[in-house]
């Protein structure tokens, strides 16, 4: 059996990050986009925690707590925007946010 090193954690975090980015870029549903943004943030969290274990310090974990708080606030605001958007357009298709389109 292969010993699980920090590298494995980094790869998983990278994979999660890429999945999140792809989700943000390609998904039509605004809620899914917000979920993807959460995924990105959590991938970053995992990255930080992995490095904290590697160095044996707690700095990484503390930063991760900040990010969680930030993610929560951001989700609240994002959902607020989503609801405001839905009230105007009656849809949650991100392609239809094109009022500024030329």
């Amino acid at each position: 059996m292969v010993p699980i090193t920090t590298l494995h954690y980094l790869v998983v975090a990278a994979a999660l990050f890429v999945l999140g980015v792809i989700g943000v870029l390609t998904r039509r549903n605004v809620v899914i986009v917000l979920m993807s943004i959460e995924l990105i943030l959590n991938a970053v969290n995992l990255n930080l925690v992995a490095f904290s274990r590697m160095w044996g310090k707690l700095d990484g974990q503390v930063f991760a707590i900040f990010i969680v708080v930030d993610a929560a606030a951001e989700a609240a605001v994002g959902l607020g925007i989503l609801i405001a958007f839905f009230r105007n357009k009656e849809t949650i298709n991100v392609d239809e946010i094109d009022l500024l389109k030329w």
Partner: protein, 707 residues
Amino acid sequence: MFLNHIYLIPLFPAFGAAVMFFFGRRLQKATVSAVCVGVIVLAFLFSCFTVAEYTHFARGTGRPFEKIVYTWLGSGDGHLTFTRRDGTLASFNADAGFLLDPLSSIWLLFVTGVGMLIHVYSTGYMTHEGGYYRFFGYLNLFMFSMLTLILANNYILLFVGWEGVGLCSYLLIGFYFHRESASTAANKAFIVNRIGDAGFILGALTLVWYLGSFRFVEINALARSGQFAVGDHVLTAAALLLFVGACGKSAQIPLYVWLPDAMEGPTPVSALIHAATMVTAGVYMVARSNAVFVLAPTAMKTVAIVGAITAVFAASIGLVQNDIKRVLAYSTVSQLGYMFLALGVGAFAAGVFHVFTHAFFKALLFLGSGSVIHAMSGEQDMRHMGDLRRRIPTTHWTMLIATLAIAGIFPFAGFFSKDEILWQTWASEGGAYRILWFVGYGTALMTAFYMFRLMYLTFYSPSRMSHEVEHHVHESPKSMTMPLVILALCSIGAGWLSWPHSLGGSARFEKFVEPVFAREAVVLQEEGKSGQLAAGEKEAEHTDKTEYFLMFLSLAAAGVGWGMARRSYLNAGKDYVEPIAEKAPPLYTVLYNKWFVDEGYDYVFTGRRKIGKIRLGAMGAGEAASWFDAKIIDGAVNDVGWVTRAVAMLSTWWDKWIIDGLGVNGPAILARMISYPARLFEWGLVQWYALVMIAGLLGFGMYYVWK
């Protein structure tokens, strides 16, 4: 007393014309007649007294009486001077001056006398026509112009009268202006006259340039002074130019074409203007200029030849005309030819005498024909007349007298004057003009023929009238027949005023007028003695026998003409045939169509008819000018326009493609092209923005990885 107020004579009819001009429309016919005829009667009486006074004044010497009323052109103090050819200074002067000498006395008497009779006649003839006051106004204006012409003492005042009679001729010929033929004839008369006037004015100006004066008295003195050689070139040119003017006014070849057409006017107009007065103005002018003509034998020859040719030419046309007035018109042209023949051979007195007698019998013929037309309810064609002798007796016997006179039958007036002309033609210059005598003789025969033809067809032949006309035939009123009777008496007696020496008379008329034509320098003569080289007089005393023989021949010619006419026309019934048409149809066609002269003029001078494709003459010049203008000048203009358009097209292309395309649109297109990628920054699609962010992040990452 009368002589001093000689200027009143033209002013009487001028007054009548002025009254008609201002008030004529409102006046009654009776008032118009009273005023207009009255002024002419006054003029005639005044003329009689004036001439009586003149004969007393001149006492047979023939010295002219001159009265200058004021200086019209030029000035007394030498502003308009010029140098004569001999170096002396001449002053350009044309006065309003009046000259009375034997020549103008004669003209004065018969113009006012015949004019008076014609005015009286017109009151009867024109009663039923419209424009009564206008007619008399024009007639009076005509008398004013004619009297000015006769009494003028210089060429310019004569020209004023000359133009005035031309104008009145136009107004009176075109009196029935609503008839196109009348207005065309009036135009023709005036225009042809004008051509003559050009010649006249050139001649008068040549004389003033050469001799230094317009006044007749001065010109005569200079011409007779011996300074100029016989055959002087400038004087010949001047004389020929003056004769051109006379041809226009007195209807000689080639300017006679207006006179037959002038018969469109009312008959009194034809009588006054085209028989007795206006057409004699040319003869008057040449007689007045006799001093100049005598110095130019070439011009005299021309005058004689043109006169003779005109006489025979017009007579030939008159042989076959059917309109009674046309026959008389051609007769007038022919008789005028006789007068010029006389002047040309040097027999001035004979020519003047013929003018005098001709005035009476020609006026009588025209007035008589007017009476016939009046009786025939307007019919003028002789083919529809006949058997009028008993129905209109006064007209008949007066016209018979006139016909006998014009044919030259003894002892009527025409015999003496015509015979004198023929005798002078035979005898003068030692017989140089004998060939012209034959021409004149032939004309006399033709004259007798066509005049008696007129008489037979109108009065003696069986009736060819239509029934309504025949019923209405009536004699004319007294106002018309009285002048006829008076003129008939004159036609009988006028010739006796110059009973020739050869028949035992004293030729008083010729003696009276002779001093005007004296060829010697001195005009003042002893009482009773006439000029020394008077053309035929001396020779008459030598060769009496020839004169009698020629006299007999003239009578024979008249008799033969009469007989031929009688044979052909006495019994001319409804379908009579002209003898010339029977015997020589092509000749008849030529004569009937007046030798196609009018048509010839249409081809050559007016250009009314084309020769093939080309148009000559005045209208041809107009056409050529119009072609030039349309093709060449307008072509040039059009070409300039084409060039302008081509340049404009170039300009447009340059502006549209180069300036607008590159200069204006270029930056715009450039801006647009740049904007396409630039737009992508603000697309409005959220996920696009996210993509761009990720791409930027990756870019940074790559940069640091590979650094």
